[in-house]
Symmetry: C2
Subunit: 708 residues, 2 copies
């Protein structure tokens, strides 16, 4: 620890000497932020005006991403990676829109983005009282948790009845304290307007992922359509462009270093308000185990893929997404370590306990809850890996779950099997058959079982003891695994498709080896799940007490953790000192593309881009400060996953960038904001417009956005 004093001192200095722009603020908090003092030239009402229109009406959710309207004709800007699937599905043997990009040269040529929806926030209200009413009377943690879940489902269903055609969702702002009901409209006819070639939209690929300086053109354009009567409708040729209440103006002059910027978007999930017991659990148990396992999976799949291009192709996207996770977890762990987060939070708690000794039982309860969890963690982890990383067992779980849950009334089902989610759950399961490669699945299963059986607590479960006997009887782990796959067809798409329709008796009678294995594991899985709900119930009582004690100590309120609801974060265009003697400027330039260019993916570039850089590094999109057209920008706003595609706006609320990533050190944002390390990355609007003009020749789109 001692050796960290120094670092902490440094960090402390930088925290107090610079603006502390922490915060993914729910919009109702905007009046407390004094944004005008920080640099905003707009009134708060221009940004957020409940019951009326404001900038937030321009910001929407596009599947898992954020997007924003940039014209009164339903034109939406979001990330390249958010439109990737639409372009992929639209491609065929003759049209490779991923490789070549796509520009609709007229409205009629815009391509339906299959499976895409755009979610617009209609209204929201605090429903904490209704959610929590009478819950305090239930002291048994498990019962309490079940009651809470049921209450949320019921209120959601009731709201959807009251708003036909809309979707209701209740978001937990503070565990056990604050709940907000959101009413959303879903637009269902979304079309692809423009996507750049992959070599622009993914320039730098996995190598540059989470890296700054960046030169990625990670943007695309979609358009939302509605029925001629203005109502949401599935795709139909006669549909008309949706007319949003508000759209963002584009600022072709962009911003400069130190300029004020802010972001509206839908950050996913953060853990800023948890206690040191949780942080310690994450740092010591959860993150290292997950990281090591991701590394093992990647190495194993690379080994299996090494000598066969066809096999490698089957693993490409899984390795890619694991590599992304691996890097993110590595970054988080590095960040926790560098900021010494756990020890600092523990120090705060010690001070609280010393000042108010009556809080001691609270901290003791949290400590023992997480100590117990850490004890259970290895078994829970490997059981979770079995269920999710072994495709055959994952499918078996879905088949059994469907048969069991879908026999219940909708409201009583587990979320994945409720009518509103079932279609998506099913499609996800079927999609996994596409790149199934049996030797990989076998290797995962064998390795997980091997690691599982190194744990002493497997002995506590009779069903795991029996399974161990089975393995032993097979002579070797390999034999056992081979035998399973020889007696299953669950990995065949048509077989699986039929199985997902089975009822309980059919599933119970199934001779498929993985259905039977999954049955065998069910008691352990159920026991662990109950235990989790028990923890959830206990936490829904402890966390509010913890928050109250901490607020009293810090003498100010704090911001609810991100939970997928609309948030505002502000900051400045700002470079970064990620390491001793290293300074990274906050704006990259066209010539940086040439410096990285190798002619090979991920550093390839279309000829049209190279030519344009040679010819058109000038004009309205040129920034004298960097003697080039800016490509990407860096800023100290507070973002996490889910902010992809979020609009970055200047002091006047004009669009100047599209957020798409964080710098590696910024992955710590999930646990804490750091003035030194928290940096997010957007594609600069000048690069977007420059590409449209000089590479894509999309003058119509420019005109639609008011750029001449």
């Amino acid at each position: 620890m001692k050796r960290l004093n120094w670092l902490i001192l440094i960090l402390h200095i930088s925290v107090v000497s610079l603006f502390a722009d922490e915060g993914m603020y729910p919009l109702p908090m905007i009046d407390g932020l004094r944004l005008q003092e920080k640099g905003l030239h707009l009134t708060n009402e221009t940004v957020y005006n409940p019951g009326n229109t404001s900038l937030i009406n321009a910001v929407v959710r596009v599947n898992g991403c954020t997007g924003s309207f940039v014209s009164d004709q339903g034109l939406i800007i979001t990330n390249h990676h958010c439109a990737f699937r639409a372009a992929n599905l639209a491609s065929d043997a003759e049209h490779d829109y991923i490789r070549d990009g796509f520009l609709a040269d007229s409205r009629a040529r815009e391509i339906p983005a299959r499976g895409y929806t755009v979610r617009i926030t209609e209204s929201y209200r605090d429903v904490s009282a209704e959610v929590l009413d009478g819950l305090d009377a239930i002291t048994a943690p498990l019962e309490r948790q079940k009651a809470l879940e049921k209450r949320i489902k019921t209120l959601t269903a009731r709201a959807e009845e009251a708003h036909p055609g809309k979707r209701a969702e209740i978001a937990e702002m503070f565990k056990g304290e604050q709940y907000v009901l959101f009413i959303y409209t879903f637009l269902k006819d979304i079309r692809l307007v423009y996507i750049p070639p992959r070599a622009i939209g993914e320039f730098g690929g996995d190598i540059d992922n989470y890296e700054w300086p960046r030169h990625t053109g990670d943007f695309s354009f979609l358009r939302a359509y509605v029925a001629p009567n203005g109502q949401p409708a599935e795709y139909a040729p006669e549909n008309v462009p949706y007319r949003p209440a508000v759209h963002l103006r584009v600022n072709p002059e962009g911003v400069n270093e130190n300029d004020f910027v802010f972001i509206l978007g839908y950050p996913g999930r953060s853990y800023r308000n948890r206690g040191s017991a949780f942080l310690n659990f994450e740092e010591k148990a959860h993150l290292p185990q997950r990281l090591a396992w991701y590394q093992w999976m990647i190495a194993t799949m690379e080994k299996i893929s090494a000598d066969d291009r066809g096999v490698a192709l089957k693993h490409l996207s899984r390795i890619k997404s694991l590599a992304n996770l691996e890097k993110r977890y590595r970054g988080r762990l590095q960040g926790m370590n560098r900021l010494d987060l756990t020890a600092r939070r523990r120090g705060e708690e010690t001070a609280i306990r010393e000042k108010w000794p009556e809080t001691a039982p609270l901290f003791k309860a949290l400590d023992s809850l997480y100590a117990a969890r850490a004890q259970r963690q290895p078994l829970a982890f490997w059981m979770e890996r079995l269920r999710s990383d072994v495709h055959a067992l994952y499918w078996a779980g879905r088949v059994i779950g469907a048969a069991r849950e879908r026999a219940k009334p909708d409201l009583e089902r587990e979320s994945a099997y409720m009518e509103r989610n079932w279609k998506r759950t099913r499609q996800a399961a079927l999609r996994r058959t596409e790149n199934f490669y049996m030797p990989t699945d076998k290797a995962m299963l064998a390795e997980i079982l091997r690691r599982l059986y190194q744990l002493p607590d497997v002995k506590n479960y009779s069903t795991l003891r029996e399974l161990e006997q089975d393995i032993r009887r097979s002579g070797s782990m390999e034999n056992f695994v081979d035998h399973l796959y020889a007696h299953s067809r669950i990995y065949q798409r048509d077989v699986l498709d039929k199985m997902l329709e089975s009822d309980s008796s059919m599933v119970a009678a199934s001779q498929d080896a993985f259905i039977r294995l999954r049955w065998q594991l069910e008691p352990v899985i159920r026991a662990l799940r109950e235990q989790n709900r028990l923890d959830g119930g206990a936490l829904s009582r402890l966390q509010p007490l913890y928050n109250q004690a901490r607020k009293k100590w810090l003498k100010h309120n704090f911001i609810p953790d991100a939970n997928g609801t609309l948030r505002l974060t502000y900051g400045h265009i700002r470079g970064s000192h990620p390491a001793d003697a290293v300074y990274l400027a906050p704006m990259t330039a066209l010539q940086g593309i040439l410096e990285k260019y190798t002619g090979q993916a991920p550093f390839n570039a279309p000829e049209a881009l190279l030519t344009a850089i040679d010819k058109h590094n000038s004009g309205v999109f040129y920034n004298p400060a960097i003697q080039s057209v800016p490509v990407c920008i860096l800023y100290d706003c507070d973002t996490i996953g889910g902010n992809s595609g979020s609009p970055v706006m200047d002091a006047n609320g004009r669009l100047i960038g599209v957020n798409f990533d964080r710098a590696f050190e910024g992955t710590i944002n999930d646990y804490a904001y750091s003035t030194r390390y928290s940096r997010s990355i957007a594609v600069d609007i000048r690069y977007v417009l420059w590409i449209l003009r000089y590479v894509a020749g999309a003058d119509t789109l420019l005109k639609e956005m008011g750029i001449h």
Copy 2:
């Protein structure tokens, strides 16, 4: 090419707008450099004063490194990696000086550095006339080359006769134009005084190799002893410290950004003055092939090492040195590409040819020489790999070479077998047996043969055709290779030791499979070697003509390529913009060690260092500009391999750092100096002194250097 216009423009601007500090100048050129205008506060005579004492008398060669005297008691400062072998040989089961470092607490405790010599330059004179006299009359290139080699050997031998106990060497300053005879004294009793623990001296290890920012304490202290009568002598307890004519004063206050610095040292070999034909050959044929082969060898050895720690240990140092080469070659190739070197030199040559059409035959001759060389290159390359990367064939080559050459009069032998070099040649061969691992040697041999036999020109050599038959008859490459190793014992140290003493008839009669294979390959090797000498002879005529034409065009003289002789280079402490949006400051800080620290090699650090950083980041070694004690510095002097250990001096000629590496982009220095990319790295003298005081407790050493 087009896409590079931009980059070139940028580079051009930076070249003309900043100081162009190119140059590894031979000291006689010092008067033309106007160093006082650049920032030097000394007279040229203080630096270089032929026939008298000056700073250069303090600079010596320590085996392959440079070192400098820093006290009147023969104390020498050089790099950690230059003293590594001495500390390694001095270690035993009870003393691990590599891990723990070593400090002699009195003169008597200094440890003999076995195999170390310190070379002092006694005098030098231009012998071009004697070397070249009458050579023009010989027009046949091969004869000319042989005559040149013979002439150099003869003059060297004559000079050594005239200076008993000294060593003479003739350095080629400009091929076919200028030759200088150096007379050296060798001190032979060298002792280890201080070496820091490996975790300081190699902090960052291979990962940080060629990287900036750097935090490596790459320094050590040795002491030179002589006989009581002042003459060079082998180790003897009664020997006394050598009293150098001049030693460097140490400046404990160091330097700051933009300060003038200069370096004296022995850079190895550069290729600045070659034509575009040569550069093209390097870029297109030589470098890529070598790079790909290094990568293959590393990957293969890593695969072989993967599951066995013992096997891995045998490959560690070979992989390490290959990884170093791989990175250097990768850097060179990237640099040639970024600077577009070949095309720029070709452009210059085109202009020369247009202005003076009479030079056309010269360029044509160079082009066709390198075209022919490129054609022969693959065969030559794989034959060279056979001889050097397959240990068994390398040893066989040494055995055959020794038998043949050592039968000749000394002056007529190939250099490696002359009496002055034979001991070293022999030891190097025997040392290779230590980490011999047969499966690796087999894998190398099989792969090289496979690649060799893909070349069409193997058919031109009857002996290679026969060998192909042998392989075919074996049924498979693996059988062929296995059979060879089953019928050889050359890899056993004692067998090899005896073989190296064999005479020609014994070697001719040997039944060892590798001796016989090497015999079989001999005609091809000899043919290729003759071809090389033929090229050398042709170049010794063409290169002077090329230099003359280029000088006439550039209207100024240029600097001879580095050739292991003493050179001066000057520049400034200067940060680096190696890539778009990246700025690296020229000075690293103690806290950077903490940032990189992981507790695991190569980012481990002794507890004493961590404690000292916590306690002593202050005092005389503290630099307010970086709010810390500087660890390493970066500057734009012009260095290459061989400059390791060179003193970096301030405007007053005081020692402020010890050079030990270049930044990755600086590996281009072998072919060209670049204002943007050429940066070298030293350990800052303040870190050296701070370590001595607060980590090593070596106050006696500090006092000896005049630091109180």
